[in-house]
Structures are given as C-alpha cells and as structure tokens.
Symmetry: C2
Subunit: 230 residues, 2 copies
DNA sequence: ACCAGTCCTGATGTTTTCGTCACTGAATGC
DNA sequence: GCATTCAGTGACGAAAACATCAGGACTGGT
C-alpha cells in the first residue's frame, strides 16, 4: 500500500494530472536523490557499495532507502532506466519535426555521440547498460527501431532487416561512447559523424547523401542528470 | 614473498620453459577452478556473491581464494581476461592460413556469431565485458584491429579509419550476441552472416563479393570454458 | 627417510552490511 | 484546530562476509 505503479515516470511531475500534493513532491524528490546517487555510482563503476553510502551520497536518511527500493539492484535498475528514458525522450523531442527518417536517425546518433563527451556521467550510465541496450524495450531502443522501420517503409533504407540494423547502430553507439571516453584526444564530432555516415551507407543511402546529411547543423542541447533540458 | 610476477600467463603452462613440476600444475589447477567458477557466475550475472560461495562452486577450500586473488574484482577480471584471450587465440588459430584480410575478418566474425549460441556461457562472459571490449588491449580486439588494418593496407577495405571500423565491428559483435540470446527463435547463422555482410560492405567491399565471402563454409570448431579446443 | 618449501584448508574473531522499527515532524482533511 | 496519515530518520540487533592463520597434505630435493 505504499507506492503503486508510479515507477514509470518518477522524477518529473506527471503532465496529465496536475494533482501533486506537497507530500508527493517531497517523496518524488527523495526518490530522485536516490536515483541520482545511483547514477553517480554507476558512472564511477562503484556498484557494490553499502546502502548506507548510497543514502549518504543522496543526502537522505538510511531508512528512506527502503521506502523506495527493496534492494540495491532495484535502485540501479531504476537509475539506468531513468537515464535511458530521459535520453530517449530528449532525442524524440529534438527530432520530432524531421520528416525524413534517415535524417531523424542520423541526428539522434550524432547527438548521442556528442553527448558522450558533453555529459560523461549520463553517457557512462548508458554505456553501463551494455549490450542489453539493443534488446531493451525502453529508452533509446524502441525509438531507434521506429526510425529505422520508418526508413525502410519510406524506402529511404534499402537494408532489409530492421533488427540487424539496430544491432549495428546500437552496438556502434555503445562502442563509440567507450572509444571517446578512452581516447580523449579524438575529435568527438568528427568521429561520430564518420560513424553515422558509415551506418547510413550501410542502411542503403548513397555515399554523397550520407555525407551531406551528416554535415547538417545540429540543434543545441543542454541536459543534465537531474532532468532539466533546453 | 608468496608469488611474484607470475600473473601474466596464469593458466597454461609457460610455453618456453617446459619445467612444470607437479606442484605448479596443482596450483594452476586450483586457480583454473576459481577462474572457471568466476566465469560461471559472470554468465549467470551473479557477481556479488560471497567469496565462500565462489570457492564452493570451484570446489576448493575457502582459504585458497586468497592464495590466488586479493579480491573478487581481481578474480572476475581474470575470468573475463581468460575468456577473451582464449577466444582471441582460437580465432587466430582458425584464420591463420587465410591470406585475404577480408576473409579472415569475416570468418572470425561469423564464427563468433555461431559461438553465441553454441557456447552461451563463454559468450555471456564476453558480452559482460561490455563496450570496453572495443578499447581493450587484450583478446579479440587487437586481432580484429590487425585484420582490419591489414585489409586497409592491402586495399581490400577502402574505409579509412581502422578504429571506427573496429567500433562498428566490435559493437555489432556484442549487440549481435545479445540479440541472439534474447531471441532464441532467430536463425543465428543467417543473422550473423547478414551482419557480417553488412560490415564488409561498410568497409568497402562490393555487395556481391561480401555475399560470396559470407557464404563460404566455416571450419568446425569445438571449444569449452575449460580450455579444450579442437 | 627426512626436511624444507609450497599450497590447501576451514575454523575463527573481526568487521561490515543488512533491514527493521519505533519515533518524529510535516501535511492534509475534517 | 485537531487528528490522522505518511514519508523520513537513524539506532540497533541480527546476519553475513571478510581475511587471517595455524595446522595439514603433498612435493621435490638431499
């Protein structure tokens, strides 16, 4: 009888129903602090810390942890989920007005590449998801799959199997992030755009068109782990 | 004053010096049991178990753990390393006689794809490495990089940046494994070969040639986690 | 046959972590 | 106002995990 199915969109105020009492907001804030702390720890690769340390990092009382999660695993799952979903929603927002599936895909991929450098903490949380990113039903994956499928439908992509395309794209996005982290000297924009270009060609676009799409300007974006976006 | 710098090549007998006393072999066996247990646990995703449980799974005494490793992390690192190195060496062996870099790359990739189904435990250990696979200096990665570089040198691959090629290939290999695990109904050979084909095309091969290379027969292979290979 | 060296072993004391629970204070609704 | 509800809190007893160490087993050399 504590919290029911409110896990889906934890942090931000539910847009539809404005009914948010002060108590609910405080609860959400406490939860968000914990999720945030979980993300920091994941980014640092320190996922086997004591619960006490988590709550201290989140600056909440020890007991509060169990008001929201039953185990560390549950918290870390929620933390990854939150990051994935937030990133996915952001990409959605930034590519909503693009009619061309190829361009929508390219923009998302390129923006994600930039993000590895611009927001390393968020990026590391995404990377920590590992390969199961590509079979996840949440966050980025369904959106990428949708873009790819739309590209196939509209004849932009001539490659047949959307899931193989997703494997190529998702795996590359992951690996690209790792590469950029481990080689800070690399030009992230250039590397990302070249990778995107290669993917577009693989999906069936002509070389020149792929290059052209990847040279288009990108929207400015500001995100942070705590959810603000502009 | 226990063991000095003998960590580098733990398991197998040092090839150069044949001096392997019975005591050394016993030690190696104990260590191998622990590594093996570590791999099983990684494959099951249970990496936060008590050390006691690890030694029980390995069927060695509790104290033996500390004869070989200082922490769980060290064991798991060694376990991943072992799997990576073993896999890499196997691929090397099976593609040693191939002159064409494109074919060597394709064979390795296709064999790796088959392996995800044929040896799910080994595969899961590899996948657990995550994206840092592509920047690792051990195991598969340096070999793949070598094949790709050779392909570029010999003019088989016209794509310029070997590291971007590696990102595409490594990320895809990872994601492909995950896909095959999560969708048991998929034809692993077909899916793998299509992916390989797409990669070859991306690297600059003509479509027909890529298809032809990926339809060639593969060598039989038998591996197991404990190291036997035929 | 004996000795020295090395690894194996599990019982043990110590330390860490867990998860509960009774209490607190704020907020809500009557 | 006043009572009730609910999330927050941290101290505490219980449980688990740690890492050591003294003794045992096996080896290899003398």
């Amino acid at each position: 009888m504590k919290n029911e199915g409110v896990l889906s969109m934890p942090d931000a105020v539910r847009p539809s129903e404005e009914r948010s009492t002060r108590t609910e907001r405080r609860k959400a804030r406490t939860r968000a602090s914990l999720v945030r702390a979980g993300q920091q720890l994941i980014a640092q690769g320190r996922t086997s810390v004591a619960i006490l340390e988590i709550t201290q990092l989140a600056d909440v009382g020890m007991g509060s942890f169990y008001n929201h999660f039953e185990s560390k695993e549950e918290l870390f799952d929620a933390a990854v989920d939150d990051a994935l979903e937030r990133h996915g929603a952001l990409m959605d927002e930034l590519t909503a007005d693009l009619d061309d599936a190829a361009e929508a895909f390219a923009q998302s991929f390129r923006l994600t590449g930039r993000l590895h450098r611009a927001y390393p903490e968020l990026s590391k949380v995404l990377i920590s998801t590992g390969a199961r990113l590509v079979t996840s039903k949440r966050g980025l994956t369904p959106r990428a799959l949708r873009d790819i499928a739309r590209g196939v439908e509209t004849g932009r992509f001539t490659m047949v199997d959307p899931e193989i395309a997703l494997v190529l794209a998702g795996g590359s996005a992951l690996a690209l992030g790792q590469l950029l982290h481990d080689h800070p000297e690399r030009d992230d924009a250039k590397t990302t755009d070249e990778t995107t270009e290669a993917l577009l060609r693989t999906f069936g676009l002509a070389a020149e068109e792929a290059a052209e799409i990847c040279s288009r300007p990108l929207p400015e974006v500001t995100v942070s782990l705590d959810g603000s976006a502009a």
